[in-house]
């Protein structure tokens, strides 16, 4: 007899409430880092979903583009940490006005984002929280849970739930493993004016998040997340021995693209920071879902890199000149 794992109670409630409801497409709608954390779920649906189409939009693009496919058979998943992002709050009522069902992820219960949403998932955040209850984890529980409900993919769902249950242990262990490397990175790269990031597949959102949220927003360092497949069709002409590249290697099907980008960059660049998920100890995770866990661990290690970089540059990650300070 096998014990069946279930998702977090909140996610489980959504999945049960959706039983029997037709879902033609899932639309991921958020801004910045909250959008980036949905990229792995879009990849997962592309790989696994046989009956559900999916797409991903920045919140205001979603509202103004007003895709025709948005309708009563749409499930719109939105996210905002504080639940106050005006575009994402507006996207909830917009989606509902088209008859769609909405699931809002936020850290703050009672925030504006939660007012109109059909379902609210309140995730944990911060040093004391457990990764099983993080935004990334809730996203996977929700989308893989949908495939379990709608397409009978319970086996993979069980493997993923079991993996997510071990996520905090893996985070803690991997942070310890990469502490020295993160310090070395911060010392070597603290004076750089531009740092590119590169990834593909399920990891691309992690590279995007590090580029726009950590480097540009929190450190005022020029950046651009280059898709590893696009690299060879323009962007690679920028590399030389003085231009820093942070290259991620995951465990998903697109790893050959990232390896190719690394191979070329190693030949013509000299300032390379490489984070390879093969160096992570993921022994608790079932082989078939390691690829989905890898970007989450890459992201957590990168947070450590960011913290060390901020310390070394005396530029705290909380420093802003415009965000929350001026009108925009």
């Amino acid at each position: 007899m096998t014990t069946q794992l279930t998702a977090n109670e909140q996610v489980q409630d959504v999945l049960e409430a959706l039983q029997g409801k037709a879902i033609k497409n899932v639309l991921f709608v958020a801004c910045g880092g909250s959008s980036a954390l949905m990229y792995p779920s879009k990849y997962l649906l592309d790989r696994e979903a046989e009956t559900i189409e999916s797409d991903l939009y920045s919140s205001n693009e979603f509202i103004h583009r007003n895709p025709v496919k948005l309708g009563k058979d749409s499930l719109v998943i939105l996210c905002s940490m504080e639940g106050k992002t005006p575009e994402t709050v507006k996207a909830v009522s917009f989606a509902k006005s088209k008859g769609a069902t909405t699931v809002a992820l936020t850290h703050k219960l009672g925030s504006p984002l939660t007012a109109d949403a059909d379902f609210v998932l309140r995730y944990d955040w911060g040093k004391e929280s457990n990764a099983i209850n993080s935004n990334y984890s809730f996203m996977y529980q929700l989308v893989m849970g949908l495939l379990s409900v709608y397409e009978g993919k319970n086996e993979d769902y069980q493997k993923l739930l079991s993996g997510l249950d071990q996520l905090q242990t893996i985070y803690d262990r991997t942070r310890e493993q990469f502490k020295e490397k993160a310090e070395q990175f911060s010392k070597e790269y603290k004076d750089e004016k531009v740092i590119y990031t590169v990834a593909s597949g399920v990891n691309y959102g992690i590279a995007y998040s590090f580029a726009i949220c950590i480097l540009m927003e929190m450190q005022w360092i020029h950046s651009h997340a280059i898709h590893a497949g696009e690299y060879f069709h323009g962007p690679f002409e920028i590399i030389d021995k003085n231009v820093p590249f942070l290259i991620l290697l995951g465990l998903d099907e697109t790893r050959p693209l990232e390896e190719r980008a690394l191979k070329f960059s190693s030949e013509y660049g000299e300032k390379l920071v490489v984070l390879d998920a093969k160096d992570f100890d993921l022994n608790e995770i079932d082989e078939t879902v390691k690829k989905y866990i890898a970007p989450l661990v890459l992201n957590d290690v990168l947070r450590l890199y960011a913290e060390k970089l901020a310390d070394e540059r005396n530029h705290p990650l909380s420093t802003r000149r415009y965000m929350w300070k001026v009108d925009y």
Copy 2:
């Protein structure tokens, strides 16, 4: 009695051959600039297509991600100027192996891209060609043609065909109008080390193309195409009076996003290059399709900006250090 316009003969042949075939989704597959020129068509399908889903992938991501939705009811549209891009050539046979129908756009008949494709569209390119037979024009003729065939949207199709017929006239007139501005841009920005580009909606691909193909590839200037909606969720912290931003304003539904990015940038930045499609004379174009023509004109004007910049920097647009020169 109204005369019915028809697409270019080659496109017309594809549309006629497709009559009666089920199409569940259209997948846009290419790399770099050839991928960027498909973004407007993805926007158009999102806005207009009621029965056809769509998605866009860089060629190698497409092959390795191997989306489940790729199948016998998929129409895969691919593009490569010289028809030799290995990933895109491989994507044709990959798509066919899944039962999909393939349409390959290329400037070179007989190139590897054309070998396995079900349909080939040979577009014109270069100074002597007419814009009606360009890659951008063929893309619109094809996707709007599909909506005419599959969803009876002949009225909009006629308006778009009529507009494309005037495209060369508009290009010529607008280049003349922007000659001085392009020269001024090249003088003012020739020594910049980084230039960001910003756009949204139907114009985003144009900003992406200018960032990765012109600035990074052809001029070795750091760049990153920032989505105007994402700008306020990280990237905007990078702007100050010394950081150059090229901001595009189009005529589509997402213009408010671009206007907001411009308003903020005008307040905190001083090096702004603004290209506003409202300044174009598009009097030949029907009001309802102007938004789709605008990005094509923006792109052509930006080519002029690129040419002037290359002259001023004594760095020809054809200069490469890696592309076509080394193994990658």
